[in-house]
Amino acid sequence: MAEDIIAPLAGKIVKMYLEVGATVEEDDDALVIEAMKMETPIYVPCDGTVKEIKVKEGDNVEEDDVLAIIG
């Protein structure tokens, strides 16, 4: 059962902790979005493996963009 990591806000990806194929656990660091001079950490929503990463550090994203997929 795949689960998407969704951008909760628009901003810039300033840190990416995920690697495709890596095993992750719920609440692990996934990435950090910077907006309005504040950094919002995004966490892995469930245990699993990183199936796909759709963004990289430096990318600008919009709210509700899919950032990565955990399978």
Binding site: P8, L9, A10, E25, E26, D27, D28, D29, E34, A35, M36, K37, M38, E39, T40, P41, Y43, V44, E63
Partner: protein, 577 residues
Amino acid sequence: MRPYFEKMPEFGKALKKGQLKRTEANLEAVRAEEANIEAEVEKVKNAGFPTEKINARGQMTVWQRLEYLVDEGTWCPLHTLYNPADNVEGTTNVIDGIGRISGRWAVIIGFDNKVMAGAWLAGQSENILRVTDLAKRLNVPLIWLVNCSGAKLPEQEKFYANRRGAGTPFFRHAELEQLGIPVLAGIYGTNPAGGGYQSISPTVLFAHKNCNIAVGGAGIVSGMAPKGHFDLEMAEAIIDKAKHFKSVPPGRVEIHHDHTGFFRYVFEEEQGVLDGLKDYMTKLPAYDPEFFQVAEPKPPKFPTEEIARLLPMEQKTVYDFNEILARLADGSEQMEFRPDYGPEVYTGLIKVNGFLVACIANRQGYLGKEYPEYADYPGFGGKLYRQGMIKMNEFITLCGRDRLPVIWFQDTTGIDVGDDAEKAELLGLGMSQIYSIQQTDVPMMLVVLRKGSAAAHYVLGGPTANRHNAFTLGTVASEIYVMHGETAAVATYSRRLVKEQAAGNPLEPVIDKMNTLAQEYHDKSRPLFCAKTGLVDEIVPMGAIRKYMEAFTASAYQNPKSICPHHQMILPRIIKG
């Protein structure tokens, strides 16, 4: 009102494995910084003569006296690192805080007899005035441990005179007594001149057999009748007088107990004085806590120490304030006021050891595309917007009406700015909030979790609300400044940059100044700086925040000046709807 308060809605979540792993680095950073603060506190504790030397004279140190006097586990120190005049002694030479004595809360202060026998130093009267303000605000007794050798004479110009100088505390003692707040003094050692007034200005005097208090001490009496110069004959006369007065100082117990009767009690042993104070505390007015408690006391469901994991040291990182509050409130229970309005601030009721307390705090993080409703930019927690300020004004007013003490938590970058914000009346709402605070008459305390900035630092119950704010705590993550250093550098030098560029001059010298200013802002906003200059009253470990909340709340409810019966409160009913 039992159905309202006995079991309020629970909130907060236990930390998961991933969170524990993720927050380990933050925990280590907090611990390292807290160890640095503790090292500074140890320097203050070790100022002056070593304890052994004082004990060898048959005296206890002020620290030993405090330990003996205060009920175990209740001491909440304040102003430990306060040293606004940067005295070489590293202290203002008074040690103070809140603690319980014989089961009753009091504000307690004593001279550090290890440092120049408890001399007056620069900054000391400011420290004492904070303490008298605290006793006044909480309406609890002020307990003095007097052991004051008088002024550090070579620096008298720094503290002797002035509107808030060394004599002002005596007027404050009189003011406390006018208000019905007793000031008890345990008196030790030699207390001449200013020390004499420190001793005589309290309400009831408990004396150690070897103490003395006097208008002028041996040194002054020996030096009376000046001739305009010194010579050998005069020097020898001074020696004779000094020897005499050293063995027979003015104002001994036989004068001020047997003759004047100023000393109500005299004790043979050092501890006897403290036992006398302990006994007397049981005679002073205090409600049994049950009179005001709305529920049985219970600890939070989650450990308070976890705040060191949940509050990021990295200033830019957002966090969930509710999770912090869940580690401070009885049973991790709360009743939130208007949760659907003004999402950037938390307003609600919690219990602290069974007492009902109001809580106001900044929330952090993204607030959604549609907020604030008056602007086309997104809202972020830490900032204050129209709804949040209206909500706080309402809540504060109701707290005043229901006689609820207020605990504020600040982590604010300021009030929203720009024409949209001006049209939304934020300037007026900020001042309304100051008015709302001022028109209440309830004690407040503040914890600056991270940022205290811009006018938001004022309107969020900061120390400038000094008729209401009993004390302000900082953490190792605190920083307080009018604006961020980089913002200040831009505000200061932006026009200069334009001019220099127009003149064809190099920009590097201006850029260097900008970087210097930004660095100065950083250096002058750190926790140690805040504690030393009095921007906060104490930097406390994150795990100790609840202990201070307990002391504040119990003190506020010990003998309040005004009461709202639980069944006549309106705020809980508004929350319930």
